[in-house]
Amino acid sequence: MILISCPNCGPRDETEFHYGGQAHVAYPEDPYALTDEEWGRYLFYRENPKGLFAERWVHSGGCRKWFNAIRDTTTYRIAAVYRMGETQPSLVSGEKTGEKIAGGAK
């Protein structure tokens, strides 16, 4: 069991949460202008990095709000949580997604 810190409720068991996939996948400006392949890529293609990954989570067993989390896919360590609409912490923007953060592995 890992603890996930909801931005509204604080640390809670992972069983209270549901996963929402990769964060920051913007809805296309004009979906009608996309080719079938581009639309397919928007719908179905996601990153699958080894290391830090910005993801959406929802606290279904608590405040029922969506938020973003940056999770290390190799260690399950959650490096940051931030609300919907907030900018992604510089933690990842300075490093490439897929790169491990120092001290992350235990």
Binding site: C9, R12, E16, G61, G62, C63
Partner: protein, 204 residues
Amino acid sequence: MAEQTLIAPITELRRSPAAHLAAEFAAAEVAGPYSVALREVPFQTMVGLRVAPGTDAARRVEERLGTALPARCGEVAQGADSSVLWLGPDEFLAVSSADPAHATAHLVEALGGDPGSVVDLSANRTTFELKGTAARDVLEKGCPLGLHPRAFAVGSAYATQLGPVPILLWKTGSDSWEIFPRASFADYLGRWLLDAMREFHAAP
């Protein structure tokens, strides 16, 4: 005359979700140093409230409630005739013994045409009251939250689970708790609590 006998007893005819367990709850009461008692508090009025804090609509609702909306997780605001539980940043539950239709209508009027919602949710959940020096030990058998007084202060309420059942848990006194399960979970959770209380019968 005939009309009166048809209409008047409607509220008297309703049955609370755990009414059939009342005798078992009473028989399960434990006295002594590890005391614990369970009963259902039927038909509390619960009005679900969604409004964004800080808006004009929220201010009108707060005026009607007689309190500011609770601002953070765990907080319960005491209004003029209701307690307002924090369920989310823009979601609250006003619990009272007021008439549900009136309580709802007042808040609907306060919200006006602004974004948000006011819904009578009284039938959605029932209330279990768990009291006694061993009440916390009973809850700790199936609740993932920290229930130590340091973490869970008197007067606070949280959405959590008891066993596999999602509940709202409100600490109303140092040894008393109110548990709000959804109506369809009342039978299961009632029996779960009876089972969790059983060991204290054997306590010295």
